[in-house]
C-alpha cells in the first residue's frame, strides 16, 4: 500500500511538473508573430505521416537512419510496456496484462526485449560516433560543452533505462522459474533468459533486483520526461506538430511583406490610401519579431547538424552555421521567457537575437540556397530567420554591406543590379 502511495505521488508530481514546463514552452512559442498554417489539413496530416512518423528525410544518411529508426521504434513500442507498469504501480498488481493476454503477452514481452537490446546497442553506437569517432557533424562552434553533454546524457539515460528493463525481466523470469511468490509464469523472455544466469540464485536477492530495477526504470522514465523541455531531446514530441505546420509553398518562394505592399502602392499611386495597419518593426531584431513557427522550429531542433553539414557557407569555412541560428534562437527565447517569469511581461534586458547571439557576418554569408531547409529531417527553416534578420538590418538600420547598397542604387536608378543603362538593355540583340 505504501509503495502504491509513493508511486502515485511520484507519478502525479512528474506529470504536473512536465505539464507546467510544456505550458511554459508553449507560452514562449506564442510570443512569436502570427502566421497562418491552418490551411490544407489533409495535406499536412500526410506530410506528418510521411516525414515524422515515416522519417522519410532521415534516409539520406542510411547508417544514422537505421540506428535512429531502431531507437525510435523501440521507444514508441516499449512505451506500451510502460502502460502496464503504470497500472501495476497504481493498483499494486504485478504484470497485470500477463493473464488476460496469455500467449500474446508472451509475444509482446519477447518483442519488447529484442527491441530493448537493439535500442541499447544503437545508443552505444551513437555514443561511439559522438565521443570516439568524433564525427565532424557533431562538432562546430555552437557545439559547446552543454549541447555535447546533453546528447551524451540522453544516450546514457536510454542505455540505463533499457538495461534496467532487461535486468528487471531477467530477475522476474528467474523468479518465475523458481515459482516464487506472485511471480507467475508470464511467457518467454528471450533476452531476460540470457541474462538470468548472471544473476544471483537467492530469491531474496532476485526480488530486490527486480524491485530496484522496476522502480529505477519507471522513475527514470518520469525523470527523463521532465528533462525533455530542457533538452534537444524535446524533438521526440515537437517533431510532430512542427512537421504538421510545415511551409507548404515552394522553397524558393519567400514571403511578401504585406506591411511593405501598402507603402509601395502609395508611392506608385498617390491616390492609394494604405490600410492603417500599425507595424512595429520591419524584419526581426529579436525572437519576438519572428513567427511562432520559427520559434517552434527552434525548440524542435535536435542539433543533428545535417543543415550545417550541407551549408555551402559553412563548408567553405564561413562563420554561418544554420544549426547555430536555430540554437541561438532557442537560447534567446528561453532567456526572454525566463525574464518574463522573473520580471514580468514588459521587461527589457537590452539584449537581442541580433548581435548578442547572431552576428551580421553570419547573416551575410548565406546564399539562400535552401540546402539547410532541404536537409532538416523535421522541416525546420533556418533560412526564414536569416531572411527576417536581413530585412531588419536593411530596412530598419540601413546597414547593408557597401557593395549591396551599390546594387540597390543601380536597381533603383537603372533597373538592373549593375550600372548599365536601361536604354542599353536590348544591345545583345544588335551584335548577333
Amino acid at each position: 500500500m505504501a509503495a502504491q502511495i509513493v508511486f502515485i505521488v511520484i507519478l502525479t508530481a512528474a506529470v504536473y511538473l512536465f505539464g507546467k514546463n510544456v505550458a511554459k514552452v508553449r507560452r514562449n512559442i506564442l510570443l512569436g508573430r502570427d502566421v497562418d498554417r491552418s490551411d490544407n489539413p489533409a495535406k499536412r496530416w500526410g506530410i506528418m505521416a510521411r516525414v515524422a512518423l515515416g522519417q522519410s528525410k532521415m534516409v539520406k544518411r542510411p547508417v544514422a537512419a537505421i540506428l535512429h529508426i531502431l531507437v525510435y521504434v523501440g521507444f514508441v513500442i516499449i512505451n506500451i510496456e510502460v502502460l502496464e507498469i503504470m497500472v501495476d504501480g497504481i493498483f499494486g498488481s504485478h504484470r497485470v496484462f500477463a493473464k488476460p493476454l496469455g500467449g500474446f503477452y508472451s509475444m509482446l514481452i519477447g518483442g519488447f526485449e529484442v527491441l530493448a537490446l537493439l535500442v541499447l546497442a544503437a545508443c552505444v553506437v551513437f555514443l561511439v560516433r559522438r565521443n570516439v569517432i568524433k564525427l565532424k557533424r557533431f562538432s562546430g562552434t555552437e557545439m559547446t560543452a552543454w549541447p555535447k553533454s546533453d546528447a551524451n546524457y540522453i544516450l546514457i539515460t536510454e542505455i540505463l533505462l533499457m538495461g534496467a528493463f532487461l535486468t528487471m525481466n531477467a530477475s522476474d523470469y528467474k523468479l518465475q522459474l523458481l515459482h516464487f511468490g506472485h511471480y507467475a509464469t508470464a511467457g518467454s523472455f528471450p533476452i531476460g533468459a540470457m541474462i538470468a544466469p548472471l544473476l544471483p540464485n537467492s530469491t531474496e536477492a532476485l526480488v530486490i533486483t527486480e524491485r530496484v530495477c522496476w522502480w529505477f526504470h519507471i522513475i527514470g522514465i518520469l525523470a527523463f520526461l521532465n528533462y525533455l523541455p530542457y533538452s534537444k531531446h524535446f524533438h521526440i514530441l515537437l517533431a510532430f506538430p512542427n512537421i504538421y505546420y510545415s511551409n507548404l509553398n515552394k522553397k524558393g518562394k519567400f514571403t511578401n511583406m504585406d506591411s511593405v505592399t501598402g507603402e509601395v502602392k502609395a508611392m506608385l499611386d498617390p491616390s492609394f490610401v494604405p490600410e492603417g495597419t500599425e507595424i512595429s518593426r520591419f524584419g526581426a531584431k529579436d525572437v519576438t519579431d519572428l513567427t511562432w513557427k520559427n520559434l517552434m522550429d527552434a525548440y524542435t531542433c535536435t542539433e543533428c547538424g545535417r543543415c550545417t553539414s550541407v551549408c555551402p557557407a559553412n563548408i567553405t569555412g564561413k562563420l554561418l552555421s544554420p544549426r547555430k541560428i536555430m540554437m541561438d534562437t532557442r537560447d534567446r527565447l528561453t532567456e526572454v521567457g525566463n525574464d518574463i517569469d522573473k520580471h514580468g511581461k514588459d521587461y527589457n534586458d537590452d539584449k537581442s537575437l541580433l548581435d548578442n547571439y547572431i552576428s551580421r557576418e553570419e547573416l551575410w554569408a548565406c546564399t539562400t540556397c535552401n540546402a539547410c531547409v532541404e536537409a532538416c529531417p523535421v522541416n525546420i527553416n533556418p533560412l526564414e530567420i536569416i531572411t527576417e534578420m536581413r530585412r531588419y538590418v536593411i530596412m530598419e538600420e540601413s546597414q547593408a554591406p557597401a557593395s549591396l547598397n551599390n546594387m540597390f542604387g543601380n536597381m533603383e536608378n537603372n533597373g538592373a543590379p549593375w550600372k548599365y543603362s536601361q536604354s542599353d538593355r536590348l544591345n545583345w540583340a544588335l551584335n548577333n
Binding site: N249, K250, K251, G252, K253, F254, N256, M257, V260, T261, E263, V264, K265, M267, L268, F282, G283, V310, P312, A313, I315, T316, G317, L319, L320, E361, W364, A365, C366, T367, C369, N370, A371, V373, E374, T387, M389, R390, R391, I394, M395, A400, P401, S403, L404, N406, M407, F408, M411, G415, A416, P417, Y420, Q422, D424, R425, L426, W428, A429, N432
Partner: protein, 262 residues
Amino acid sequence: MELIIPTMAQMAAEGKQPDILFWVGCAGSFDERAQKITRDICKILQHVNISYAVLGTEEACTGDPAKRAGNEFLFQMQAMMNIQVLDGYNIKKIVTGCPHCFNTIANEYPGLGGNYEVIHHTQLIQQLIDEGKLKAEGGESFKGRRITFHDPCYLGRGNNVYEAPRRALEVLDTELVEMKRCKSNGLCCGAGGAQMFKEPEPGKKEINDERMLDVLEAKANVIASGCPFCMTMLSDGVKHIDKEQEIKVLDIAEITVRANGL
C-alpha cells in the same frame, strides 16, 4: 541563322500578340557570356517557330537580389512596376533563361497581383523535345564527352525542377554523369542570396572552388548549367583550377543550339 528579335512594343504597334514572352533578365541582357545564351534561346524559339517577343528596354530587374538581401521595399517597387508593364501588354505566358527571374515571377509576383504561367527555358526545351519539335541532329556531336548538370538552387530545390534540364541532355549521344552533390543535394555555386553582388564573407575557400571538387571527381569535361549566375561562378571555378581547356561550362540552351547546328 539570322535572328529576328521582336519586341513587345513593335508587336503591339502591329496589333499582334505573341504566344510567349521571353523574359531575358539582367544577366541575360548585360553579361557578355549570358548575352550569348540569350541569343541561343532566341535561336531555339525561332527554329521551332514559336511566336515570341522580348520587352527590351521596358524590362527591369525582377527585384530578386534585393529581396534575398532583405530589401523588401525595393523588391516590391520593381515587382509592381514590372507587373504594370506585363499586364499592360496582356502577357499570359513567360519563358526565362534565369532561375532567379523564374522563381520570383512565378512564386512571388502572384501575391502582388501578377499572375502568369512561367517556365524556365530548360522546361521549354524539354517540352519541345517531348513533342518531337526539337531533336539533337544536324549539329555538333557530343559523343565521347562526359556531361554533368549543375542544379541551380532556385530551379532545383527552390522549385523542384530536376528532370527538365536532364531530359535536354539525354537526347545527346553522350555520357551523362551526376556529381556527388546533385539534385536536391546539389551544392550552390555561391552566387545566390545576393552574394553575386558582394564579396564573400571571410572563410577558408570560395564556394565555386568547393564545387570544382565534385566536377573533378565526376571526371566531367562539360558542366551544363541553366543559370547565368551559376555560369559565372562555375566558369571562374574552372579558371581557378586551370582547366579551361579540358572543362567547358555550357548552358543547356547553348548545348541544344550546338547539337542542332542552329
